[in-house]
């Protein structure tokens, strides 16, 4: 009982401190910034509002453009099928795309990290959808992101493993600067996200900004209010959020021109191995 009372007291104190911080920030936001502070404010706003729209637009246009270029090209001149033939070629290609049996067979440790990473990445995507207004994958009012911080671990640790693996021979020898930079981008993107998620889920006091604050920010973005997010994202850790969002924008812009395009291409490529990919084979498969 005593312990329970203590927790409640801490919680009440934390809430009071948060409210005080919010008041202070609101007051601070009403202060007119000049000079360097004004430049930082403008950059923060650009990252948190217009660049979000622009990066998502670049992502969509880039991906569609890449897919159009690929799939408007002529089909392969001859069959690329591999044998023994699968009894259900399309089902086999689907299974190979999502479970990577080749990697499981030849590189089981790598496969474990790959599977954890990809499943967690999907959960990460859903976790961010959960912040959107009207979406409640977690119980309404929960302060936890989907997975309560575990999803962050599940994407961050594999990326560290991928980085170490890429530094070792022979993978290092055919890796390009883009391979390393992409992994570093993901690593820092995840780490800045982890700080918020782990703070809110693993600390009794929480991160300065709560999931409810982020929901208000997403609500503004969804309703195209163009309002300054500073009004709803209180506290001195605002720049961590800005950096997280900036890295995410960078990821969106880079994605269509990077190997992350395999998100969209993995299934079509795997289909070639199982169905052959020629016009005649496509017709045969479609009956």
């Amino acid at each position: 009982m005593a312990a329970h009372g203590a927790v409640e007291a801490v919680s009440a104190a934390s809430a009071a401190a948060g409210a005080a911080a919010a008041d202070a920030t609101t007051a601070a936001s009403q202060v007119v910034h000049t000079g360097f502070a004004l430049v930082v404010d403008r950059i923060d706003y650009a990252i948190m509002v217009p660049l979000v729209y622009l990066s998502i637009l670049a992502l969509l246009v880039g991906v569609i453009w890449r897919l159009v270029v690929i799939f408007r090209s002529p089909p392969p001149p001859y069959s690329l099928r591999l044998y023994p033939a699968a009894r259900r070629p399309r089902l086999a290609a689907f299974g190979e795309t999502f479970t990577m049996p080749q990697v499981r067979r030849h590189r089981p440790v790598f496969w474990v990290f790959l599977m954890i990473y990809h499943v967690a990445f999907i959960l990460l995507f859903l976790g961010h959808l959960d912040i959107l207004p009207g979406v409640n994958l977690m119980p309404a009012g929960s302060r936890h992101m989907l997975g309560a911080g575990a999803v962050g671990v599940a994407v961050t640790l594999p990326v560290l493993y991928f980085l170490v693996r890429r530094l070792r021979s022979p993978v290092r020898e055919f890796s390009t600067p883009a391979d390393f930079l992409l992994l570093l981008l993901l690593l820092f993107l995840f780490l800045f996200g982890d700080m918020m998620s782990w703070g809110n889920s693993w600390s009794p006091h929480g991160f300065v900004m709560t999931k409810a604050d982020f929901r208000r920010y997403f609500d503004g973005l969804a309703r195209l209010t163009l309002a300054d997010p500073r009004a709803v994202l209180h506290g001195s850790h605002y720049h961590f959020v800005v950096i997280h969002v900036f890295l995410a924008e960078l990821f969106f812009v880079v994605l269509p021109f990077s190997k992350i395009m395999h998100t969209f291409l993995s299934l079509p490529v795997n289909l070639l191995r199982r169905t052959g990919g020629t016009v005649a084979e496509r017709r045969r498969l479609h009956g």
Partner: protein, 414 residues
């Protein structure tokens, strides 16, 4: 390399960018899972001998000229320009790859390095840097085909001279023992230049009572080895036209992997069936048209799946059916079927000679064969047979290396 050549090669590259090629060039994550798939890397562990290492050479040229990354930040992908130094790398990549496609069984995306190497080979032809011996063999093959009418009589006579050897294997052969381009046949058999590719096949088909005739053309497709799709198509088309003219139901391709795959899968559709000769033997056994003396071979027998017939052609169980009719002591190589190691002689390497490289790069194949402890190593491909014979001698494996058709012909119940 002058600018005009560079521009011409760029256009040549672009002409090869069909959807599958773009997918293969765009999707690789350089995860390195494929490295252990290649027999060359397993035998000579250098990154340039990995599937991804080879494909990267072509991919970096692709990035330079056909990707946003190459235009905005070429250093990100370490792009390669179309110049002489790059063409040296392209040569190294293309002519150390046998096109076995074993790497496809390792890649989580199923990227076909052989297809990517077809661009490398096309670029080398465009830059006049391809292996000239193969160009010569290809052109000779085409010229021989064009002059077939002048040589038909002498060819037919030379084939008839094989009668004693064919009758030694199957005494009940009809007269003439072999017909050439005869109308009314059900099967058109396409052989190689050597008589070893005709005698056992003729004996087997005669024993089966097959209505067959011999093609005037050679099955071997040097154009495909060279990577010249136009010449490869020309070599295949004359067989196609011959089969149409004779109105045959089937074209049976001699034990030659590339010839089989080129004819069956790479040169368009045909109004007749294309079969590997081993498929025909298996069918004769199933239908009871031939009988074989079993267990006459000394010791156990193992089988090497030729890449272009097995993994890339789908003929996997028929050879095993035939071997089990020959022996009760059949041992599989490990791995086998679609996972089998390449012999190291494909992709034109045997035709080019390249014996030093072939022996060094196929050490893993020799180890695999040795581990079977078989007395007889059989296969159904000319290239594989030559390479395995060389490996047998080079590594002192002490085996008998034999064509499957020869083992069958020798065991025919007379």
């Amino acid at each position: 390399m002058d600018e005009a050549t560079s521009l011409r090669l760029k256009k040549l590259f672009e002409s090869r960018l069909h959807s599958a090629m773009r997918l293969y060039l765009d999707t690789c994550a350089r995860c390195g899972v494929c490295v252990d798939a290649c027999h060359v890397y397993a035998s000579i562990p250098q990154a340039r001998y990995t599937a991804v290492g080879r494909a990267e050479v072509v991919r970096r040229v692709f990035k330079k000229y056909f990707s946003m990354e190459g235009r905005i930040a070429p250093w990100l992908g370490e792009v390669l320009p179309m110049d002489d130094a790059t063409m040296d790398q392209v040569y190294d990549a293309a002519w150390s790859c046998t096109g076995c496609r074993r790497c496809m069984t390792y890649c989580p995306f199923g990227i076909d390095t052989q297809l990517i190497m077809s661009i490398a080979k096309a670029l080398l032809i465009g830059a006049d840097k391809e292996p000239k011996l193969l160009t010569m063999l290809t052109d000779m093959s085409i010229a021989k085909g064009e002059g077939v009418e002048e040589t038909r009589e002498s060819f037919t006579q030379a084939v008839q001279d094989l009668a004693p050897e064919i009758k030694a294997l199957w005494p009940h052969s009809p007269d003439p023992v072999v017909t050439v381009d005869a109308p009314g046949a059900d099967v058109l058999y396409v052989a190689l230049a050597g008589k070893h590719s005709m005698i056992p096949a003729a004996a087997i088909m005669n024993a089966a009572g097959e209505k067959w005739t011999l093609s005037t053309f050679e099955a071997v497709n040097f154009g495909m080895f060279l990577g010249d799709s136009r010449k490869g198509q020309a070599i295949a088309t004359r067989i196609h036209e011959e089969a149409i003219r004779l109105n045959v139901k089937e074209v049976a391709i001699v034990e030659c992997g590339t010839a089989f795959r080129a004819m069956k899968y790479m040169t368009g559709s045909h109004p007749f069936r294309v079969v590997a000769f081993v498929e025909l033997i298996s069918r004769y056994l199933r239908e009871g048209r031939i009988q074989l003396r079993r267990d006459t071979l000394p010791g156990s027998v193992t089988y090497h799946d030729p890449c272009q017939i097995g993994r890339n052609g789908g003929v996997l169980e028929e050879p095993r059916h035939v071997i089990r009719a020959l022996t009760s002591d059949f041992v599989e190589l490990a791995p086998n079927r679609g996972d089998n190691w390449c012999c190291g002689g494909g992709g034109g390497l045997v035709a080019l000679g390249e014996k030093d490289f072939r022996m060094k790069s196929a050490r893993v194949k020799a180890d695999q064969v040795r581990a079977s402890h078989a007395a007889v190593l059989t296969t159904a491909c000319e290239n594989c047979h030559t390479q395995l014979t060389d490996l047998n001698e080079h590594y002192g494996l002490g085996m008998k290396v034999e064509f499957l058709s020869k083992l069958v012909a020798d065991a025919l119940v007379k």
